[in-house]
C-alpha cells in the first residue's frame, strides 16, 4: 500500500510589479515579449493566480538581471 505523504502548503509571491517599475516602468507587454509569453500570463503571475514553470521563472529573473530568489518568494504554511 502506497504511503501517504502530507506536504506543507506554500504561498508563492513575487515582486514583478516593483521590478518593472525600477526597470524604467517596463510595461507588462514588454516583459511578455522579452520572456516569450502573452501579456495575460504576466498579469496572472503578478496577481498570484498562476505559478510559472521553472523555465519562465528563470527567464523573468534573467530579464531583470537578478537572482530567482529576488523575484519569487516562497513561504511555507505550518
Amino acid at each position: 500500500m502506497a504511503k501517504k505523504i502530507s506536504l506543507p502548503k506554500f504561498n508563492l509571491t513575487n515582486n514583478i510589479r516593483t521590478l518593472r517599475f525600477h526597470a524604467s516602468e517596463m510595461t507588462q507587454q514588454e516583459l511578455a515579449d522579452k520572456t516569450g509569453v502573452t501579456r495575460q500570463t504576466i498579469v496572472a503571475i503578478e496577481n498570484g493566480k498562476y505559478s510559472p514553470t521553472l523555465e519562465l521563472a528563470f527567464r523573468i529573473s534573467h530579464t531583470f538581471h537578478i537572482k530567482l530568489d529576488d523575484v519569487f518568494t516562497v513561504s511555507f504554511n505550518k
Binding site: 516569450g36 509569453v37 502573452t38 501579456r39 495575460q40 500570463t41 498579469v43 496572472a44 496577481n47 493566480k49 498562476y50 510559472p52 514553470t53 523555465e55 519562465l56
Partner: protein, 148 residues
C-alpha cells in the same frame, strides 16, 4: 478581454451554429422526405463522415472572418503565440472534454444494451460530442478568467 478569450467564445458560438445548421440541413433534405432513414446505418455513417470536414472548414472560415473583423474594429492582431499557460489550459479543457465524451459513449452503448432503436445511439453520440465541445470551450473561458 484577451484575444484568446474572444477566440474561445467564437469557437463556442460557431460550434453551436455549425451543428444547428448541419442538423437542420440533414433533417430538411433527407429525413423529412424519408423518415425510415433514421435507423439506416449507411445514413448515419455518411452524416458523420460529411459532418467532420464541414465542421472543420466552417470553423476555419469563421475564425478568418473573426480575425479580419477584430483587426478592423480594434486594430489589434490576434495572439499568435501559445505560451505555457495556454497549453496548460488547453490540456485541462481536453481532459474535461474527454471524460464527457467517454460518458456519452457509454450512454450511447447503453441505449443499445437496453434494446432501444439504433438512432438513439447515434443521436447520443452526436449530442455527447457536441456537449463535450461546449463544456471544453466553457472551461477554457473559466480558466482564462480565473487566471489558470
Amino acid at each position: 478581454m484577451s484575444s484568446k478569450e474572444k477566440e474561445t467564445i467564437i469557437t463556442l458560438i460557431s460550434s453551436i451554429l455549425i451543428l444547428g445548421f448541419y442538423s437542420l440541413y440533414v433533417y430538411q433534405n433527407y429525413l423529412i422526405e424519408n423518415w425510415e432513414l433514421i435507423n439506416d446505418f449507411k445514413f448515419w455513417g455518411t452524416t458523420f463522415l460529411i459532418m467532420i470536414p464541414v465542421a472543420i472548414v466552417a470553423q476555419i472560415i469563421i475564425h478568418i472572418i473573426f480575425a479580419i473583423i477584430n483587426k478592423i474594429v480594434t486594430n489589434e492582431d490576434l495572439d499568435e503565440i501559445s505560451d505555457e499557460r495556454d497549453k496548460l489550459i488547453e490540456l485541462k479543457a481536453i481532459r474535461i472534454s474527454h471524460w464527457i465524451f467517454t460518458g456519452g459513449f457509454l450512454a450511447a452503448m447503453s441505449t443499445q444494451a437496453m434494446g432501444m432503436e439504433p438512432w438513439a445511439m447515434f443521436v447520443t453520440l452526436i449530442f455527447s460530442g457536441f456537449l463535450s465541445a461546449i463544456v471544453s470551450e466553457s472551461a477554457k473561458i473559466y480558466f482564462y478568467r480565473r487566471g489558470f
